[in-house]
C-alpha cells in the first residue's frame, strides 16, 4: 500500500517542463490563460480552415450580393457574393502563416545579428550598431511599404520584409543579453581552458539567451499579425482575392462600408480579438519565464528583499507597430 501511494506522488511530480508551465499558467495567470485559449483557437482555425468554413473563400453566390447576415450566411455576403464568415475563417490561416513565419524569421535574424555583434564586439559591433541606428531612424511601416512596392506584394514578400525589419530592431535586445552573459566568469573560464568560439556560443551563450529569445518571439507574433493587416489595408500586403483581414477592410470593403457594414466589422473584430489574445498570452509567458517579475507583492509593492535591478525591461515598445 505504502509503495503505491509513494509511487503516485513521485509520478505527479514528474511533470514534463511543458506541463508544469501550463499548470502555472492556469493557476497564476487567468488572463494569460484566456489569451492562450484564443491563440489555440486561432491556430486550429487557421490549420483547419477548409473544414470549418461553410463555403469556399472565393465561392460566389450570384444574386445574393451584399445580403445582410442571415441563417444561411451568418456574417453576411460581400459585394461580389462571397460569404464573409468563410473569408474571415480563411483570413485566420493567413494570419497564422504570416504571424508564425514572420516572427520566426525576425527572431532568427535578431539572434544572428545580436550574437555576431554582441559576442565578437570590437569594430564589427561598432559598424553594425551604426547601421542599425540608421535603420531605426526610418519609420518601419513606411520602410516596409517602400520595400514591398519595389519587390512586389505577396505573402512571402511580406514575411521576408517584416522578418528583416523586425529582426534588425529586435537584435538590440539579444545583443544586450549576449554582452551581459559574456561578462560571466564561466565564459572567461571556458576561454581559459581553450574552448572554441563555437563551443562557447553553443554551450554557454545560446542556452542563456533562450528566455529573451522566447519573449522576443512571443512579442513579435501579435505585432507582425497587426502589421501584415495594416500593410494589406494600405494595399502593400497580401493582394486580393486572398482574404487577409486587413485587406478586407480596404478597397471594396471601404467602398461598400455604409451599405454593407458587415464587410468591415467582422474581419477587424477577429483581428482585434486575436491580437489581444496573443498579446495576453505573450505577457503571461514573459512573466512566467522572467523570475524578476515573479511572485505577488502586496499593495504598493513594498519588497523586503532589495533587488538587483537589471535594466532589461523587455522591449517597452511592444505592440507599437501599427
Amino acid at each position: 500500500m505504502a509503495d503505491s501511494s509513494s509511487g503516485k506522488v513521485a509520478e505527479t511530480k514528474r511533470h514534463s517542463w511543458l506541463v508544469g508551465f501550463l499548470i502555472r499558467l492556469v493557476k497564476e495567470k487567468p488572463l494569460g490563460t484566456v489569451g492562450g485559449i484564443i491563440t489555440l483557437l486561432l491556430l486550429l482555425t487557421g490549420i483547419f480552415a477548409n473544414f470549418i468554413a461553410p463555403y469556399g473563400m472565393n465561392e460566389c453566390w450570384v444574386g445574393d450580393f451584399l445580403a445582410p447576415p442571415s441563417a444561411k450566411f451568418w456574417l453576411g455576403i460581400d459585394n461580389v457574393g462571397r460569404d464573409v464568415l468563410s473569408r474571415v475563417i480563411y483570413g485566420a490561416r493567413i494570419s497564422v502563416i504570416v504571424g508564425l513565419a514572420g516572427a520566426t524569421l525576425a527572431t532568427i535574424v535578431s539572434v544572428i545579428i545580436g550574437i555576431v555583434s554582441g559576442y565578437f564586439g570590437g569594430k564589427l559591433d561598432l559598424i553594425v550598431q551604426r547601421v542599425i541606428d540608421a535603420w531605426m531612424c526610418l519609420p518601419s511601416l513606411i520602410l516596409m511599404m517602400v520595400i514591398i512596392s519595389i519587390i512586389g506584394a505577396g505573402i512571402w514578400q511580406v514575411i521576408a520584409v517584416m522578418g528583416l525589419t523586425y529582426g534588425v530592431t529586435g537584435s538590440r535586445l539579444i545583443r544586450g543579453a549576449v554582452i551581459s552573459i559574456k561578462e560571466n566568469v564561466y565564459v572567461a573560464a571556458a576561454e581559459a581552458i581553450g574552448c572554441s568560439n563555437t563551443r562557447i556560443l553553443t554551450r554557454h551563450i545560446m542556452p542563456n539567451i533562450m528566455a529573451p529569445t522566447i519573449v522576443l518571439f512571443t512579442h513579435r507574433v501579435p505585432s507582425i499579425i497587426l502589421i501584415e493587416a495594416s500593410l494589406s489595408f494600405l494595399g502593400f500586403g497580401i493582394p486580393p482575392p486572398d482574404p487577409s483581414w486587413g485587406g478586407m477592410l480596404s478597397g471594396m470593403g471601404r467602398s461598400y462600408m455604409f451599405r454593407a457594414p458587415w464587410m468591415v466589422i467582422w474581419p477587424g473584430l477577429a483581428l482585434s480579438i486575436v491580437v489581444y489574445g496573443v498579446n495576453m498570452f505573450g505577457d503571461a509567458v514573459r512573466d512566467l519565464l522572467d523570475p524578476r517579475l515573479r511572485g505577488g507583492v502586496g499593495r504598493y509593492g513594498v519588497r523586503v528583499k532589495k533587488e538587483v535591478t537589471v535594466k532589461s525591461e523587455p522591449s517597452p515598445l511592444k505592440g507599437l507597430t501599427k
Binding site: A134, C137, L141, M145, L249, V264, G268, R299, L317, L320
Partner: protein, 323 residues
C-alpha cells in the same frame, strides 16, 4: 555635460550619412524605374530625353552627389540637400520642398495632438494600476492597456466613421479646416483621428508607467518616506511619480516613429491631406525624389527627438553618467 552633447552630435554624422545612403539607393537599386512607369502604353516615348530631364543619364553615384548637393548639377550649379533643395517630384513635377511644406502641418498637428491626448489619458491609469497592483482595478487597467495596443487603428477608425453614418446619418467633414481660419472646427476635425492614432502609444505608456511606478515604489527612499509619516499624496506624487516619469520620457522618443508611421493609416481613413497621402502616392508611382525627401524629413525629426530625449534624460536623472 558639454562633452557629452558634443559627442552625441558627432555621432549623428555617420548615422545621417548611412540614412542618406539607405533612403537614396533603396528605391533606385532595383530595376523598374520611373521611365517604365511613365512610358507604359506609349512605345514612342523618347527614353533618352526623359532620362536627361530627370537626371538619370549619369551614374547613380553622381545622382547621389547631386541629390546631396556636393556634385554639380547639369547646369553647373549646386542644389541638393545641403542647399535646402530636395529636387522635383517625378510624378507631379513640383518641388519636393513645396509638397512637404503643404502636407507637413497636417501630419504634425495630428501627431502632436495624438501624443498629448494619449499621455493625459495614459499616465493617470498607469499610476492607478501600479498603486492597486494585482487588484481588480489593476487587472482592468492592464487589460485596457493591452486592448489599446491590440485594436488596429484602421478598424476603429472605420467603425467611428461607419456607425455614426448609419445611426445618425453623420459624416465627418471632407474639406480640411485650417487652424488659423477656424480653430474650434479644426480641433473638432482632428480630435478623433488623433485619439485613434495615439491609442497604441497610450497602451504602451500605461504599461511603462505602471512598471516604473512599481520599480520606484520598492526603493528604500520610498520606505523612508512612509516611515517618517508622510501622507499618501506626497509619497505617491512627489517622491514616486516624479522619479518614475523619467524613463517614461523615452517612450516619447520611441513613440515618434510609430506616430509618424501611424499617420499614414489614419490620414488614409479620415481623408486628411497630410504626409501619409503623399507617401502612398509617391510609393505607388515610384517617385524617388518625393519618397527620399519624406524619409529624410522623418529621419531628421527622429534623430532630433531622440537627441532631445537623451539630453533631457541626462539632465533629469543625475545618475546617468556622461561617460
Amino acid at each position: 555635460m558639454r562633452a557629452y552633447i558634443i559627442r552625441r552630435l558627432l555621432l549623428l554624422i555617420p548615422t545621417m550619412f548611412l540614412v542618406s545612403l539607405i533612403i537614396f539607393f533603396m528605391m533606385r537599386i532595383l530595376p523598374g524605374n520611373i521611365i517604365d512607369v511613365l512610358s507604359a502604353g506609349d512605345v514612342e516615348i523618347d527614353r533618352a530625353m526623359l532620362e536627361r530631364q530627370l537626371g538619370l543619364d549619369v551614374p547613380q553615384i553622381v545622382q547621389y552627389g547631386r541629390w546631396l548637393g556636393v556634385a554639380p548639377q547639369a547646369d553647373g550649379g549646386f542644389s541638393g540637400v545641403f542647399q535646402g533643395d530636395l529636387g522635383s517630384s517625378w510624378w507631379r513635377g513640383l518641388p519636393v520642398v513645396d509638397l512637404l511644406a503643404s502636407a507637413w502641418p497636417v501630419t504634425l498637428e495630428l501627431a502632436l495632438m495624438g501624443l498629448i491626448i494619449t499621455q493625459l489619458i495614459a499616465l493617470p491609469i498607469g499610476v492607478y494600476s501600479a498603486l492597486r497592483q494585482d487588484e481588480w482595478g489593476d487587472y482592468i487597467g492592464r487589460s485596457f492597456a493591452i486592448l489599446c495596443v491590440s485594436v488596429p487603428g484602421f478598424w476603429l477608425g472605420t467603425m467611428v466613421i461607419v456607425f455614426p453614418a448609419i445611426w445618425w446619418g453623420y459624416m465627418p467633414p471632407i474639406m480640411l479646416v485650417h487652424f488659423t481660419e477656424d480653430p474650434i472646427g479644426n480641433l473638432r476635425m482632428f480630435i478623433v483621428p488623433a485619439i485613434i492614432l495615439g491609442m497604441a502609444l497610450a497602451g504602451v505608456t500605461m504599461r511603462m508607467t505602471r512598471t516604473m511606478m512599481l520599480e520606484v515604489l520598492r526603493q528604500d527612499y520610498i520606505r523612508t518616506a512612509w516611515a517618517k509619516g508622510l501622507g499618501e499624496r506626497v509619497v505617491v506624487l512627489r517622491h514616486t511619480l516624479k522619479n518614475a516619469l523619467i524613463p517614461v520620457i523615452t517612450i516619447i522618443g520611441l513613440g515618434v516613429p510609430f506616430l509618424l508611421g501611424g499617420t499614414v493609416i489614419i490620414e488614409q481613413i479620415f481623408v486628411l491631406p497630410g504626409m501619409g497621402r503623399l507617401i502612398i502616392d509617391g510609393v505607388q508611382h515610384r517617385d524617388c525624389p518625393l519618397i527620399s525627401g519624406i524619409m529624410l524629413l522623418f529621419a531628421v525629426i527622429l534623430v532630433l527627438v531622440n537627441l532631445m530625449v537623451d539630453l533631457t534624460y541626462a539632465y533629469l536623472d543625475p545618475r546617468v553618467h556622461f561617460k
